[in-house]
């Protein structure tokens, strides 16, 4: 899985490409935590548009980042969810705490 970070004025955009499972969750964690530790951005937009698979390891990894963002007073927004990933997130209770936007621009705008 590739994790691409783009620093924007309103927050950090995280574009995921590939599969997010127990194996790749390590990369997801390390890349995002390194950036968050710089304290330059507090908000996170996670773009799932090019993520082809996710299981409960993804839920755990996302919740871990959500807690960090929230502790720093930031917000987390999702975009580009496929029906399958949406279903996994619903089962994990993520969609009751994290807002979903249809695309990256709308997600960034919602952070203003």
């Amino acid at each position: 899985m590739q994790v691409k970070l783009i620093r924007r004025k309103n927050g950090l955009v995280v574009r995921l490409n590939g599969e997010l499972d127990h194996h790749t969750a390590t990369v997801f964690r390390e890349v995002i935590d390194k950036e968050l530790s710089k304290n330059l951005v507090h908000n996170l937009v996670v773009n799932f548009e090019n993520l082809t698979f996710m299981d409960s390891s993804g839920i755990g990894a996302i919740l871990g980042r959500y807690r960090q963002v929230k502790a720093k007073g930031g917000k987390m927004v999702f975009c580009g969810l496929s029906e399958h990933i949406k279903k996994i997130m619903q089962l994990g209770g993520l969609l009751t705490i994290i807002p979903v936007c249809s695309d990256e621009n709308k997600a960034l705008a919602s952070l203003l």
């Binding site: 599969e19 499972d21 194996h23 299981d55 409960s56 755990g60 996994i88």
Partner: protein, 146 residues
């Protein structure tokens, strides 16, 4: 009845490989994309449990995966020879995890239950665990053709 068996060491990089192999074998039942995604997710949860819980990330552990096709019924058996589950009922509870420090969501068994028609868990502490999951696939296809 057609079947296939595979044996892998409990290494996390094998998770995606198992998903692909199971999906390829199940594809002959003409499942929908949604069904395939759900089967792949259930397999992924079971294999991840073996790696993290049964073998505590010790990569030498062995995982056996058996997939059987009977009509349009898919049976999956994921077996390990690891530490076993002391309390299966508790392990199956949503959000329960033994490893919160590893950012585990505690959703593995819930997802397996949700995505498969039937889920059986047998375990002997100190000996290992066998998870059996059954799902009838290609239902839509059958309805369409009748």
């Amino acid at each position: 009845m057609n079947y296939m068996k595979m044996e892998i060491p409990a290494r996390s990089e094998n998770e995606s490989f198992v998903r692909v192999v199971v999906a390829a074998f199940a594809a002959r039942l003409d499942p929908t994309l949604e069904e395939l995604n759900e089967v792949k997710t259930a397999v992924s949860e079971a294999v991840t449990n073996c790696i993290i819980h049964a073998y505590d990330n010790i990569e030498e552990g062995i995982i056996m995966i058996t997939v059987s096709l009977d009509g349009n019924k898919l049976s999956l058996e994921i077996e390990d020879y690891g530490k076993g589950i002391m309390d299966i009922e508790q392990a199956r509870e949503p959000l329960y995890t033994e490893k919160p420090e590893l950012e585990r969501a505690g959703m593995g068994f819930s997802i397996m239950e949700n995505f498969m028609d039937e889920l059986f868990v047998e375990s002997v502490p100190g000996k290992g665990t066998r998870v059996t999951m059954i799902r009838t696939l290609g239902k839509k296809h059958t309805w369409d053709s009748h």
